[in-house]
């Protein structure tokens, strides 16, 4: 019996990589839409969706900070939305350049919060936008619980792992 228990533990631990992989179906993000007109960044709208938010990018022309009443929840950078690099090769040379986009609309995926504040800073660390975010929608998780044997197994192992971690 002890041997089976030890082997089971090894199997659980060896499957840790899988359990550690983020399941985006069990996460939410805010899809926030912006526009950039006449040198002004404008917040347009937001919606809450199932899926992983974008990561914390470390470079760009603008810094977005998402915070709640108490602390900063998320920070990321994004590049100038009015510029697009284009490239192609021909006869062993590369051509292209930097295209300008007039009045672009663009979106960012940020972590979902019930209530929070988005602030955007430029390169000079000057705040150029602030927007209050409130989400009261309920998320429908169509695929939250995987059906079938493997879904059950994964849920079971998740619970066992949680119990082991708790101890």
């Amino acid at each position: 019996m002890e041997r089976i228990f030890i082997i089971t533990l090894i199997l659980i631990l060896s499957s840790g990589d899988v359990l550690a992989v983020t399941d985006c179906n069990k996460q939410n993000h805010l899809l926030v839409e912006f526009s950039y007109e006449g040198g002004l960044l404008k917040y347009l709208s937001h919606s809450i969706n199932i899926g992983c938010p974008g990561g914390n990018l470390k470079q760009g022309d603008f810094r977005l900070v998402l915070s709640d009443d108490k602390k900063v929840i998320y920070t990321t950078y994004f590049s100038d939305p009015t510029k697009r690099f284009v490239d192609y090769s021909e006869s062993n040379l590369v051509f292209g350049g930097l295209q300008s986009i007039e009045n672009p609309k663009f979106s960012l995926l940020i972590p979902a919060v019930e209530k929070g504040k988005i602030q955007v800073y430029n390169k000079d660390n000057v705040q150029i936008l602030t927007a209050n975010i409130e989400t009261q929608q309920r998320i429908s998780r169509a695929l939250q619980n995987q059906g079938g044997l493997f879904g059950w197994v994964e849920n079971l192992l998740g619970q066992v792992t949680s119990l082991l971690k708790a101890k």
Binding site: M1, I4, I7, T8, L11, I12, S14, S15, D17, V18, A20, V21, T22, D23, C24, N25, H29, L31, E33, N49, I50, G51, C52, P53, G54, G55, L57, Q59, G60, S79, D80, P81, K83, R84, F85, V86, D87, Y88, S89, E90, N92, L93, V94, F95, G96, G97, L98, Q99, F106, S107, L109, K123, A142, L143, F150, V153, E154, L156, L157, V160
Partner: protein
């Protein structure tokens, strides 16, 4: 008769369940199901990592898409074999969403994939950067070459171009590097692009194995490598010491 208690039964169930899970893992089809689209883990890095999602456009079969992704990740001109990504390969995760519902347009001979659709599709996976592969026929592209593009954290790639175009575009979106070839249309703020400099190249002149070559986006700016990937990915096979530093510091 051997009596089994409830603990033994639970342990046996967990043992069988674990075994079945391992079998499932071996299918290399690690299921991270999203809202309708499945995220496939292509290559797993460390915990502190950068997540790159490949999306297809115009592929008639998924096998070809996976082969292209494999080439861009593991091939001679892929992340795995090109510095500085080679040295940080364990910090890169790669994913695909094969059923991504993304549309791409061609405007002024430039491939521009829908930014919002790409982000929604990529959200099925952990996502920092998104690379949409636009499956392009070589012959068609010889007649009418299309441009790849890089916008925010999204790269739209012409697969008929040289394989290094992916790393070139990735260096735009990941590292904020500028093109080092000279184009009249390029007007740039030198403060924004650290891979270009003014005459005498004070930014990197202290570094060995760097140069100071005229022409970096604009004719009056200077670059650190004569023919690097940011200037000419047909001839150049490396980013060069300075550009590798600029990219490496983001890991």
């Amino acid at each position: 008769m051997y009596k089994v208690n409830i603990v033994q039964v639970i342990v046996i169930i967990i043992f069988i369940a674990s075994f079945l899970l391992i079998l499932n893992i071996k299918n290399n089809d690690i299921a991270i199901t999203g809202s309708g689209a499945k995220c496939n883990l292509i290559k797993d890095g460390s915990d502190k990592n950068t997540d790159i999602v490949f999306l297809p456009y115009g592929y008639k079969d998924n096998q070809r898409f996976f082969e292209d992704v494999d080439t861009y990740v593991n091939g001679e001109f892929g992340f795995k074999n090109t510095e500085p990504f080679k040295s940080h390969f364990d910090q890169l995760n790669f994913y695909t969403v094969e059923t991504a519902d993304v549309t791409c347009d061609v405007l002024d001979d430039t491939i521009i994939c829908n930014e919002l659709e790409s982000k929604i599709a990529a959200a099925n996976c952990p996502n920092d950067y998104i690379i949409v592969l636009y499956d392009r026929d070589m012959v068609k592209d010889f007649i009418v070459p299309l441009r790849s593009s890089a916008y925010l954290n999204l790269a739209s790639i012409n697969t008929a171009d040289h394989r290094l175009v992916v790393l070139h575009e990735f260096a735009h979106i990941f590292g904020g590097l500028a093109d080092e070839y000279v184009e009249e249309s390029i007007s740039m703020n030198i403060d924004r692009f650290e891979n270009c400099d003014v005459e005498t190249c004070p930014r990197w002149s202290y570094l060995n194995n760097t140069g100071c070559f005229k022409g970096c986006g604009e004719i009056d700016f200077y670059r650190s490598i004569d023919n690097g990937i940011m200037r000419n990915y047909i001839i150049g096979r490396e980013f060069g010491v300075w550009n590798e530093y600029l990219l490496s510091r983001l890991f």
